[in-house]
Amino acid sequence: MRLSAFSGPRKGIFSFMRQDAFSKCHPLTNFVFFVGAIGFSVVFQHPLYLAASCAAGAVYLVLLNGKKSWKLIAGLVPVFFLLSALNPLFNSYGERVLFHVFGKPYTLEALFYGMAIAGIFVAMMLWFNCYSAVLTSDKFVCLFGSLIPALSLLLVMVLRMIPNLMRKARQISDARKSIGKGAGETDNFREKVADGMNILSSLTDWALEGSIVTADSMRARGYGGAKRTSFQIYRMTARDYLLLGFSILLAFIVMFAGGTEATYTPVLYIAPPGWGLAAYCLYLLIPSLLHGKEALQWRISISRI
């Protein structure tokens, strides 16, 4: 059914064609890595650890999304400075007073602490962006489908419904425009609201009507009968186990090697970094290194041809 000119294949469906080696690993490998990367970024306030996390996150994001990601990274820079500078206004612990604002001391320790918090924020933003690019909804469902089957099916159905509703809303609003009832046809605020309500109510009816058919279609295909199994499109390969093992090993080294302690207020203390930091950097760079390795391989194989 061609409902509107937008119902055909949309632009951008090939965006997943950007090849990334880590994205093609098993969702479990992906998920464990991200739990580590994001978890460590929150826990470690050590400046070098934070810097490593931000840098590695940014590198991987650029590898994943290309030009698009520069915008985000550029946007995060002022956010970092703003957050850092704001913290001392609310937190006046610390020994070295730089100056006074509204009679309150603005301390160096609090400023560093602000930078650490801002660093955590930036790292989180970067890694979560990578996460959403790598762990798409179907991977998420694959991971948790066997744990909570009903919930995962619900999630899948919601994901299916959202674009559907969006399209129908546009269709209704177009249809109303073409009989002179569109929202843009009036400047009256009340009429605009009323029009919105009309579209919403029609959309609800439509969704309910559709859900009856969906329910029939589900029952007709045996839903609610025997114990459900779930179709796995992903398979744990030897490489996945290897990567998983490697990242867990590195994570343990990071945790037990020490040198991650840092306190900012009231007294500034930053532990001297040791092997732990090297392991941490390696951990964070796993996806980027994998990406680089594959890119290099292609380069070489192409040059051979």
Binding site: M1, G184, G222, K227
Partner: protein, 553 residues
Amino acid sequence: MAHFHIQDLTFQYPNAAHPSLENVSLTVEKGEYVVLCGQSGSGKTTLLRHLKNVLMPYGKRSGSICFDGTPLEQVSQHDQAAKIGFVMQNPDDQIVTDKVWHELAFGLENLGTDPKTMRLRVAEMASYFGIQDWFHREVCNLSGGQKQLLNLASIMAMQPEVLILDEPTSQLDPIAASDFLNTVRKINIELGTTVIITEHRLEDIYHSADKVVVMDQGKVIACDTPRKVGQLLWLQGHEMFAALPTPVRVFYESQGAGDCPLTVREGRSWLTAAFEHHPIAVAEPAPEPAPEKPKAPALQVKEVWFRYEKESPDILRDLSFAVPAGSLFAIVGGNGSGKSTTLKTICGICKPYRGTVEVFGKPLKAYKPKELFQNGLAMLPQDPKSLFVKKTLREDLAEMSRDKEAVAAVAETCEITKLLDSHPYDLSGGEQQRAALAKVLLTKPKLLLLDEPTKGLDSFFKQKFARILRKLQEEGITIVMVSHDVEFCAEYADLVSMFFDGQIITTDTPHRFFGQNSFYTTAANRMSRCVFRNAVTAADVAALYRANLEGKP
């Protein structure tokens, strides 16, 4: 052993005055291809839903249904889910999950199939249906035809013994529809799956049916081979006769001799044989009256260019045409060629980046907001449901006009007076179409745009719709219609245009337009072009046949 054996099935919905099914007895053998036809509301869907326990409607029921010799209620849900496949009308709502691969596996997951078998079955089906290329896609990015094919494939993955299809192609364009029906036919022939199908568009499937069942008001009035059913309906003078494929209609309407042809090919041989030793005195229908001197155009589109996004390809490329006032102007053309976009451009939803649209001699841009849609222009969208926003039809119409008399008059014109107090969603497709038209007409348009108005309508509703259009034309309304329905355009349009590659290639009267085309033309024309010229409707061919063989007009 019969696959399905239905004995004396009677069914009545609660609160209904008449039973929806009355003493229906029917036997479907293994591997048969059964076509079930009848007007909307004749009980086809109700009957099909009785063939699967979970879909059975609630109400009073008597009689028995046996599947493979076992009463249906004793067949386990698991077996029913696996062995009886059911494809419904709406391609969109049937889909449960968001990914193509997941949808294919959904039924198998429910049956608790082990992962290894499931992988194989899914792979098999994807290959058989040619889905590999879009296996990883999101469902929402598929076209309607692809969605319906996916529905079919996901049911075939469960390896059913019977495939039941309830008007599967009513929401598809003709090319996607005939692809789909060919696939169903292929399944029947190659896998031996029993097929029970209802369809409005009989042209594609009638000839290949082993058995045609005709229903009328809940009763089976005919159940036989296609040829015999054709004869029976003709003898009874039944309304369903109008829905039969063109060759059958031509054969009976012309009182022809010999065996009734079912396909265009058979029709050609039949006509050729009939005129082999007979001179053709009248070779073409009476010429259409020469066009009167051109009236002022109601709509003029001049060199319009349009695309949706900066980077996307042009949808309209140098589109120019003029619609004479008071005519029914039909635009035909392939899917996705930009026909609907043309209509959207005319009513200002899409803004062209070059060129002008003039409505009644005034450029679109010169109209103030609202002015255009008051006594000016209105469009009936492809899906009539998108126009309904209230709980009853009466409220919906009241939204457009407070004048009760005007509402009553329009309801009368569109033949929906009796339906005014129903919820718009409770109406059948044909009724919804007319109700939506009523709503549109309340803006008192002088120029009416119709987007695929005959989609999903049965022949009976189409005739009714055509009657309404004629009435509107007499009132001086100009109608521009975009359609895939070649037969409908040939019969009712004043001018037909071919749309291709973002522009209109040619415009002519239906006889000359379809007479010249050799592929994109009506079945009647394709079958008769070997002996006659410019005959485009079944009535044309029948009249020529009689005029030549009997010597009377």
